[in-house]
Symmetry: D2
Subunit: 351 residues, 4 copies
């Protein structure tokens, strides 16, 4: 009787092209073909003209291609503001002879190619919901309550894609390509919420996407990229057929300065364990206030509000955990409540 074992490695990066720390893992015995996903924090601005994400992906693709390995899920998030530290988190999994118990489990899936007139609409929500369910099956998890983190990489519209759709007589949700990123992220997050039974798809209409922010998932983390036309999905949870020393839980900070829910989630995890990875979303509270006091993040024309938010929430979380190589990512449409920040915590039990 076999079980599966997931592992988590947090590796410092000296720059977006520094894959040497990951290569060292392989030199030390980690098998490349076991790697399911790499999530990176790179030191760009995390906004439109952040090329550190593409640069890092290119370097990893080259590294894997040399060994004939393809299909690894690469999720690069730009922005290491404040004292946040650029790093890679490597997620391998493998078969094990150890008895299965409750442990960190990893699943992935890809959806079919999305017709571009479906982007930012109910059809995308449903496609992602199916994909998340497939990733849950891959992770051996039935109960949505055992899922603690859902990462979705989703497509966006380009001028070419808009033209192609219109050529076929279809109408797209928006002709504004930047706006299509938000719509795709939002629809993907709502798709995760549907898969996790947080929302019923019948409650959601096309017009709610990026409008009714009271609809959200407490576990979703989504990012849009030009390089794909389908969805690449990674789920992390606690699976029954899994073994190993890693555990995961999650929490939602109700605002940017209240880490109490995060502390409680940490306290639900084993005490004799060290932090393996922290995966969080951050955004400037759209109300313009935090806990009743004005913030200036949305009025600052010199620094993007996303950069402010990552620096600040990064500080809040680093102050709690005493660690700076945290995955804090911006752009949180329908990912946690408005102004609130979803946080997943992975720990490794000490043996």
């Amino acid at each position: 009787m076999h079980s599966m074992r997931a592992n988590v490695y947090r590796v410092p990066a000296a720059g977006p092209d520094d894959v040497s720390g990951v290569e060292a893992l392989f030199a030390a015995g980690l098998r490349l073909k076991n790697v399911v996903a790499i999530m990176g924090k790179t030191e760009g601005n995390g906004c439109v003209n952040d090329f550190t994400r593409g640069y890092a992906s290119r370097c990893f693709e080259t590294m894997f291609a040399k060994q004939g390995v393809t299909g690894v899920c690469l999720v690069m998030s730009g922005g290491t503001e404040g004292a946040l530290s650029p790093h890679w988190t490597v997620f391998p999994r493998e078969r094990s002879d150890a008895p299965a118990s409750h442990a960190l489990s990893i699943g992935t899936a890809r959806t079919p190619t999305l017709p571009f007139h479906h982007l930012g609409r109910l059809q995308q929500i449903l496609a992602v919901a199916e994909g998340v369910k497939a990733a849950m099956r891959d992770a051996g998890i039935d109960d949505p309550r055992d899922i603690h983190f859902v990462q979705v990489k989703c497509p966006l519209l380009t001028l070419d894609r808009v033209s192609a759709a219109e050529h076929e007589g279809e109408t797209v949700a928006t002709r504004d390509t930047l706006k299509s990123m938000g719509l795709s992220r939002g629809a993907s997050a709502l798709g995760a919420a549907v898969a996790l039974d947080e929302l019923d798809h019948s409650e959601i209409a096309d017009g709610d996407i990026c409008k009714r922010f009271e609809l959200f998932s407490r576990c979703a983390s989504t990012s849009a990229g030009v390089e794909l036309a389908d969805h690449e999905i990674l789920v992390l949870g606690i699976g029954k057929g899994w073994c190993g020393s890693f555990a995961i839980d999650h929490a939602v900070m109700e605002n940017a300065i209240d880490p109490s829910a995060v502390r409680k989630a940490r306290d639900r995890l084993p005490a004799n364990a060290k932090l393996a990875a922290l995966l969080a979303k951050a955004e400037p509270d759209p109300s313009g206030k935090v806990a009743g006091r004005r913030h200036t993040m949305l009025d600052d024309s010199d620094i993007s509000g996303m950069r402010h938010a990552r620096a600040f929430v990064g500080g809040v979380l680093a102050g709690v955990f005493g660690m700076t190589d945290l995955y804090v990512s911006g752009g949180a449409e329908h990912q946690g409540p408005s102004g609130g920040d979803p946080v997943a915590i992975i720990v490794e039990k000490e043996s």
Copy 2:
């Protein structure tokens, strides 16, 4: 037998010109002539071209001038990065008939005009040390250990001032006017350290200023401004002849992600008290690392490292205190250890 009573008001600011909250205090009975100092956080970049400091000072000067009041110490610090909130902290003091006990005390002093060839040299250190001692006397505090915060506003060199000094046959410490700001801040912090018996002036040579950062004060907060040629000094501590419900203590964060010393300082203060003001310094760790991990604040050519540091340390402290109208100020030469952050905490006991 009289005593003195200090008070602390924290007032939101809707912009650098919004003095309406302070005017409301006066309308509600606070007497203008009792105001000793106003410390403001304004929403500029906190760097060279931050005009929100001058704008705010201008608005307060106009307000006081209308009432014939002059000489109020105005300390404006730019930069409310992350969720930090623009606000004013008003410090009045008055005579009281209540019995004296140990309570928050406020003292101020001005030094004689500084000959400009003394700036950034031992003579400035000695002048500030004398000034801090005078402010301590004004606050009725003998023991340096009862001082928890020293604010010094110090002069800087301009091309005109350099020329004037050279015309008299003197040599200035630097002809670089930007550099003169750091030297003046550093010498002023060392002057505070000498007054507070943290350092002996015989240990310090001209060449140590902004070089030997292992010499520092745990309480000093200094800023340079073009508008004065002497030093404006404010000390906060616990004085014996004072009454009232405010108490103060201080701590030094050894690095940007360890608020444990701050928590301990808070725990030394009365439990049945609410936070009245938090006064902190922040800077990017000059080693390029925090707790062994690389940060990117000093390599970011888009955002000043000072802005990163205020956002991040602001997050750490806001996560501890659940409040965003904190005074977090950058530029910390000889103010706390290299990469470490001095923090003063003022609480108001509940009655």
Copy 3:
């Protein structure tokens, strides 16, 4: 038989609070009460959180108030990118005994208070058109072809204003306050176009504002401010009842790199004359290209596209005129063709 004489002074500014150069004009004989308008370029970012505009206005208001003068039109534009130089342009006018000839003429007007549900709609266009006609009468100009520059300062929506309108049962054009700035600037520019017979108001519908950019004025320069609820209008042209040595013409650069139309306009003006003021608008070409080549201004999340555009177009114009104290202002909805830049040129004939 009297005539009117307009004058133009270009004064360097050492900072947003430096009114000393203008005070020197008064000390040298210029009468304060003759000053109709001051147009300033200040060194802020020219975007949302640019407080140098308010700071400069405050300083001028204080200066005028001391002399009992009110009602001077103050137009402050932030952003002196590249080598552009902060400065004030002072426009006085006075009665003269010299015979009237064709010369620079200045007129001003204010519209009635705008009901806030009219903002960004046809009613605002009509109100501004009336105001521009009033300013033309004030300048003694009948023929719209004699107008070369129309500056309109227009209101914007705030949350309070939206609430007030909705309380009265009205619907506003947008509830997004930032968006209301663009709508107000756009409607004001179209109002100028109607007044100048560039457009017929029957051609324009509410939905065209900030949408159909093929509708535009070749002379309008508009800016929105929170401090007014009506419109403050300044027109510059060639009036018949005016004397003096100043002349004005205008041109529209068809794209950011073709100053040939500007050279031609300069050549239409007297040769034995020196440049007195140059008033231009600049914006990143919304097509993402200039002359067929991609630009990156709209994808730069570190620097606002407006700042890029002012720096670059400032360079183009400075290269033509050999001068850096040019008034180059951003935000050009319906002010010139899409991606094109309207430029007014004022020269002073040598005597």
Copy 4:
């Protein structure tokens, strides 16, 4: 009797990884092994944390490596501010049967590895001078007056390199790695000046580097990179043994707003020719003024002065040539006079 023929291709780039336009040249018949150099303008900030340079270099290296080609000189300059357009300029050369005449010639050379304690000192100047002479020989040019552009890619100090030098008992010119970039650029520019007989090496002492800016080359363009320990040198000039339709000349703008010298250089080139490439340096005038008027580039803590300067000088030059894919590069120690901008112009004669 053979001659050499140089060619120049200007290719748009859709991003730092877009080598497709260059690949299209190869598909159309250009031979990879003929390519001597590629100079690129990429859309990063052109400062410390600009990873678009490395990303672009990586993509070209991969492209060349696939075909077994190595040793191509890749010069990537970040920063396409204003309407400047990202692009590559490809320089191939080949043997030709056409008769030799005066035409654009290209030469390259590499110096021996630089002992790191020589960096920023007279020894580096001499090493570069030798290298430039070797590149001149490679280009078949004897007379320094026939050289119009010298590009030097030079090394910098890292902590490891400093340690290595000190371990051997040597002292380095600076332990500040950022400062070492300026020293290396400055020494390299002075090396070019020596090779071109603009300066005599006996006039220059170690202490003059990055100090005495009245010493400079009118043709040098230098950039420091961590990836090499020697110098990579490219010279462009008019060689006698060359054929083809390209010609080159150069000029120095005495300040940022006077393109008259550039116009004159263009006029010295054939009239029936179109612009093939423009290679310029730009920097904020260190005096703080341009033509007597204050600029704010050096006081702007939000935008690097280099970015301001490239945008503005880019505008000046684009206004002259009506083209935005210009190579405008920052950081001009000893490259042209202080505040002045060297410009090389390459044209292609129409046949």
